[in-house]
């Protein structure tokens, strides 16, 4: 260790509590920054990884307005479309309202063909197809609730009451379990038979359900833009106008239903950054003032303005890089647990290397910025004035 580097380290240890608290605040700030940025990038990655050959057809009014089932054969007849499946958001929960996850009524065979990302790892597709009350669940739900093949799963409805009366659960049976082959595919979905859904509802006052979305798979050479325009034009005069979007655009729209998440997250991240910047600048200014006398000694010994500038900058860099590295490391370590917490909104939450490099660059930048003022002051100090200052 060089003499000046040793001085840098010893100066950091001079006020241990302050240094520790400054580093601790940096750890928290960088953890938050990296986590928030990862939320945004994971959201983006989810949309980007959507399959280009899939389209979503929904009501032009809102995702919460259903479409007539009668639209399906008309959509299927559009050139360039290979397959269509009805989907409806069920919106129930298991045992307690906090146990919410995505449940969809779907056409089983078509859905499994449209979504090859679902690899069945327990049970079989046939078992799912044959069992009218059968459900296909993601292994994330198995992990969360401990369900296994053959289990009866009661789901309490909020949107589609069971004909047997209020408070009656819909009962399903686990027929197959899938594992997503893509990182950004939701491992916590429950898919069940459209037929069971429809027939059950027809027994009650609700009657036949509408369709939340039609999921469309295009033929290999189809032009998505052309197909979307054709579908939209088909229903331009009602009774329900539709909006066709690519799957990635649909996912973006879905996320923005919760507000402009990237904007809010970035704003919070920016606020965190400014707050920590002020705190570190303040700490470094205090440290610089305390070391004024020592700076005078260094200059009297023949150290240049540049040397003392570097001593102060290195102190700031040291604090910021240590705090930043620990914060980034913490964000990476907590990736699995945060990923589980946000999985219903963001699949495949990941602290990417680019986020870690972003954090590292920010830590270095913060260190340089926070150290610049005290270092500049130290460099410009007159030696005899510095020597005359009190310790």
């Amino acid at each position: 260790m060089g003499d000046l580097t040793r001085l840098v380290v010893r100066n950091l240890a001079r006020r241990k509590l302050r240094t520790i608290l400054t580093i601790a605040s940096l750890v928290v700030a960088f953890f938050l920054l990296c986590t928030l940025r990862s939320l945004v990038t994971s959201l983006q990655a989810g949309a980007d990884s959507a399959i280009a050959s899939r389209l979503i057809v929904q009501s032009a009014v809102s995702l919460f307005v259903d479409l007539p089932q009668a639209y399906q054969p008309k959509i299927e007849a559009v050139a360039g479309i290979e397959q269509v499946s009805k989907w409806q958001w069920f919106g129930g929960y298991y045992q307690e309202p906090r146990n919410r996850f995505a449940q969809f009524a779907v056409e089983p065979r078509e859905t499994l063909e449209i979504y090859p990302e679902m690899e069945i790892v327990e049970g079989s597709a046939e078992a799912f197809f044959k069992n009218r009350r059968g459900i296909l669940i993601g292994d994330g739900l198995v992990e969360q609730f401990g369900w296994k093949l053959g289990d009866t799963v009661p789901i309490l409805p909020e949107l589609f009451p069971h004909p047997s009366g209020p408070g009656t659960a819909w009962e399903f049976e686990v027929a197959a379990i899938y594992h997503p082959t893509q990182r950004n595919f939701d491992p916590k979905m429950m898919l069940f038979h459209w037929d069971y859904f429809e027939k059950t509802l027809e027994e009650g006052p609700v009657g036949a359900p509408g369709v939340g979305t039609f999921v469309v798979r295009l033929t290999p050479n189809a032009d998505p833009t052309q197909v979307m325009a054709t579908i939209d034009a088909l229903f331009e005069n009602g009774p329900q106008r539709v909006q066709s979007t690519s799957e990635s655009e649909f996912q973006r729209q879905f996320v923005t239903m919760f507000g402009n998440v990237p904007f809010f997250v970035s704003t919070i991240g920016g606020g965190v950054l400014i707050a920590i910047l002020l705190a570190v600048v303040n700490a470094m200014l205090m440290a610089g003032r305390e070391q004024t006398h020592d700076i005078g000694i260094l200059k009297a010994l023949g150290f240049s303005d540049g040397d003392v500038f570097r001593v102060l900058i290195q102190q700031s860099l040291c604090v910021c890089v240590i705090g930043g590295a620990l914060g980034i490391g913490l964000a990476k370590l907590s990736e699995p647990s945060i990923g589980l917490q946000v999985i219903s909104l963001i699949q495949g939450y990941r602290v990417t290397p680019s986020t870690m490099w972003f954090g590292a660059a920010l830590a270095v930048g913060l260190g340089l910025f926070a150290g610049a003022a005290p270092a500049w002051r130290a460099a410009r100090l007159q030696t005899i004035e510095a020597l005359a200052s009190k310790d």
Binding site: D3, L298, L301, G302, F303, L387, D391
Partner: protein, 233 residues
């Protein structure tokens, strides 16, 4: 032999509270290399200011300061720093050791500005500390040393890079009599055996007795230079 110290028409003023204070007034002074000078005078006579100008810690308003043949007025800030590192060792009244470094680290600090290897720097610093009688205090921090030990450590730091000039500002001012005598003896040795040019500011007539010559200042002007015989010292 290295050239000594020449001051020609040196003036220095300070402005305090809107009032201009003349500290050095058109001072001419010549000091030989290899000699031990004591600089005396009442408070405010300009002793410390003169020392700061000779040590390139400050610059005059007018006049020339030539030390060891170098006209300091021709050097910029960085060049002055380099010149200080190579030519001057300072000993201050308040010791001015860096509190977070050990005695050995303090003493080796000026050597960071040389091309010496780490091992050579350590060896030299150890030798300097042995020279001042602190061989058993190398790993101590300044606050773990007595005042006399701190000042001897500061002297070791001042001489470790082998400068030609040693500038001491009241080096015994904060010390008891025994410690002061040890420090003065050390300065005499550095002058007589290593040929260092020493300029020591002091109020203490007893300390001034160690010097070969006593420079008297008053109100920024030179009153005279008195030579002390070897017997008197």
């Amino acid at each position: 032999m290295t050239s000594g110290i020449e001051l020609k028409g040196v003036s220095k003023t300070y402005t305090r509270g809107g009032e201009t204070l003349t500290v050095l007034d058109n001072l001419d002074l010549s000091m030989e290399a290899g000699r031990f000078y004591a600089l005396m005078g009442p408070s405010g006579s300009g002793k410390t200011t003169l020392l700061n100008l000779i040590g390139a810690l400050d610059v005059p308003d007018s006049g020339h300061v030539v030390v060891g043949g170098e006209d300091l007025g021709r050097l910029n800030r960085d060049e002055l720093a380099d010149w200080r590192a190579a030519n001057v060792g300072f000993v201050f009244q308040g010791f001015n050791l860096i509190p977070v470094l050990s005695a050995l680290e303090n003493v080796s600090l000026p050597l960071a500005l040389t091309k010496l290897s780490r091992a050579e720097r350590r060896e030299r610093a150890q030798y300097a500390l042995e020279l001042v009688g602190l061989a058993d205090r190398m790993s101590h921090r300044p606050r773990q040393l007595s005042g006399g030990q701190e000042q001897r450590c500061a002297i070791a730091r001042a001489v470790v890079s082998d400068p030609a000039f040693l500038l001491a500002d009241e080096p015994t001012g904060d010390l008891d009599r025994d410690s002061a005598d040890q420090v003065l003896e050390l300065l005499r040795t550095l002058n007589s055996e290593l040929g260092k040019t020493i300029l020591m500011v002091t109020h203490d007539p007893h300390a001034a007795e160690s010097a070969e010559r006593v420079v008297q200042l008053d109100k920024g002007r030179l009153l005279g230079i008195a030579e002390r015989t070897a017997e008197a010292r």
